[in-house]
Amino acid sequence: MKRLSGFAIFAAVCLLLPVIFPDNYYVTVVGLTIFVNITLAVSLNLLMGYAGQISLGHAAFFGLGAYSSAILTIKYGLNPWLAMIFGAALVLCLSYVLSRPILRLKGHYLAMATLGLGIIVHIFFVQADELTGGPDGISGLPTLSLFGVPIDSDIKWYFVLCSYMLLSVLFSLNIADSRAGRALSAVHGSEIAAQMMGIDTAKVKSYIFVFSALMATIAGSLFAHQQDFVSPESFSFFFSIELVTMVVLGGLGSTFGAVMGAFILSILPEVLIVFEDFEVLIFGLILMVIMIFLPEGLFVSLKNRAAIMLSKRESGS
């Protein structure tokens, strides 16, 4: 219950912001990027935080969703929602087939395998230029319509992306408390112990891998329509690393940690722009400082501090 009250406040803030600040660049433009990043980070956190499986190739699923939407709607004239479903189906099959062999790997080797996957997909986006438009990408996606309403303004996209983001956060929060979630924690804690308790660890890991991939893919399709443009750059391994950083920064295993990490990493470049030449340097410095002093992640550390302070007050110390 307590967790959902936090979610309710969060949802309220997100939905009310454009009402209070309607013409604001940060809300209507940066907000869109933040929502997409939050969704991706939350989906990655399911895999990395809850199931304990590292993935350095998450951007690939994001990209596959985006490119499926772009290619199917522009080159083949498919209805946008159909294209999205197609993209999701493609990733469903791909990720399921890959999940079994890949998830047998552990630690750095799993990282390498997912990294390799991400890079192979990225190379495909760049080289198959007949299909994907190559490094310059594809633009001109048809407008997405929801229940007959065309989504053609920043504000409309704000609500669409916000809703999808809130859905993913809600889902992630619920998983933690469910039987599936407990199975995940068990696998995370110790796979051998989990197996001994009768949990089919391979299946659990596989399912979460596929699910996390699907969440990212749909985000990708939405992203493609919102940007009206897809290019390989947005789905490079650098972005995969950024996503991992978001998850760890906020606190591995915590949904709101992923939210906070995504928020900070998305807003920081905007804020640091004023430092011009020093931007990269300061960005790296902030990352290091946060991880050194709050190694459990920003959100998790703050939550723990708050809990300690509250308990101190209660015990009257």
Binding site: N24, Y25, Y26, V29, G137, S139, F229
Partner: protein, 383 residues
């Protein structure tokens, strides 16, 4: 208590940041020029001189009182060569900074990514990138000043035809410039009676292209065309020398900077490339209408920053085409400025003499490109 105070401070700071993004009314006395350039990153040696040129001349114009009394306010962002950043920054320029004209988009990818945004927002945009897709088909609000990759390919093939070359090999990287150059070469070669007998590729961060060149050596190619910029073409040149391949080599205008010669060393000699007259300004005949403009720009830029580059020249052209257009328009109105840019006629720039029209948003023809050969570590104007 302290914890609560901290939260409140955080929220206050947060709201302040938000407020700064709220739309503000602009004084219509200044001309706001926005630019998004690849100042750092793999395309930095295009973007960096572009920024320096814009800054240098805008400062000068403002010192002299502006354009008919209108001062120029210059807002610029570094895209690091990434299309995602380009889109973000153009959105920022239009929605937050509310600029009147945009000059930028160092790379074709960066420029192509923002076309929809500027068309929708109706802001005149002069691109500094090479791809012909930027102005063909013509878009109302999009112009460009650099020669196109199509022109580069045509210039190269015309020269090959002169030398009787009938078969050529392509070797290109994985960047946008490389790929669109390659596409143009493949499309235009038949027109000049030339057959492309090899089509090799490399990654722009690769450190060795001997494999691809070995494959090319095994074909009956009579010349090698490399489309790219940065350090990769220098490595290609060095590898060609290492393998002892004696075929004529053509580069694109992507290497029209002294850095290429510095990195490639001896291997650069004998390479031909199409480029703007800027790099051979002193070799032009005195009767050439461009010479005066070129030498003035060269002198001013080199005094402040060092060796001049054609990419900075494109920025010069874009800036002054804008300045002239604003002068003619008389007011700072985006639509009027756009109309006047389109009417640019006989403008002598560093890239050539511009004659734009509603169907031609570049305004340069093939003569504006010069064929140059590198001899003894220096540029030599051929024609």
């Amino acid at each position: 208590m302290r914890f609560l105070k901290n939260i409140v401070t955080l929220l206050a700071a947060f709201s302040l940041v938000l407020l700064s993004g709220t739309g503000m009314v602009q004084a219509k006395d200044t001309l706001k020029i926005g630019s998004f350039l690849a100042v750092t990153g793999p395309a930095s040696f295009l973007g960096d001189p572009e920024l320096k040129t814009l800054q240098m001349y805008i400062e000068e114009i403002n010192a002299k009182g502006g354009i008919n009394g209108h001062k120029i306010e210059f807002v610029h962002y570094d895209t690091k060569g990434k299309a995602k950043e380009a889109k973000n920054f153009v959105n920022r320029l239009i929605k937050k900074d509310k600029v009147d004209v945009i000059i930028g988009g160092t790379t074709s990818g960066n420029s192509l990514a923002v076309i929809d945004i500027v068309e929708k927002a109706k802001v005149p945009f002069i691109s500094l990138a090479g791809s012909i897709k930027i102005v063909e088909p013509v878009k109302k609000w999009v112009f460009k000043t650099p020669h196109t990759d199509k022109m580069a390919a045509e210039k190269i093939f015309a020269d090959m035809k002169k030398r009787g070359i009938k078969k050529a090999a392509l070797i290109t990287g994985n960047g946008g410039f490389d790929k669109s150059g390659r596409a143009q070469c493949l499309a235009l070669a038949p027109k000049y009676g030339i057959e492309i007998v090899a089509d090799e590729k490399y990654g722009n961060a690769d450190t060795d292209m001997t494999t691809q060149l070995t494959k090319i050596r095994a074909t009956d190619a009579q010349a090698i065309i490399n489309f790219g910029f940065g350090k990769a073409p220098a490595i290609v040149a060095k590898n060609i020398k290492q393998l002892g391949i004696k075929l004529p080599v053509y580069e694109s205008h992507g290497v029209a900077s002294k850095k290429f010669i510095e990195l490639a060393g001896d291997a650069a000699n004998g390479i031909r490339l199409p480029a703007a007259a800027l790099i051979v300004a002193d070799q032009l005949s005195d009767k050439d209408p461009q010479k005066k403009v070129l030498l003035a720009y060269k002198k001013k830029y080199e005094a402040k920053y060092g060796p001049v580059s054609t990419f900075g020249g494109h920025a010069y052209d874009a800036l002054f085409i804008t300045v002239e257009a604003v002068k003619r328009a008389g007011t700072i109105d985006r639509a009027k400025i756009r109309d006047e840019i389109e009417k640019t006629h006989g403008f002598v720039g560093t890239g050539g003499i511009f004659n734009m029209s509603p169907t031609d948003h570049l305004g340069l023809n093939l003569d504006a490109f010069k064929m140059i050969e590198i001899q003894n570590g220096n540029w030599k104007l051929l024609y």
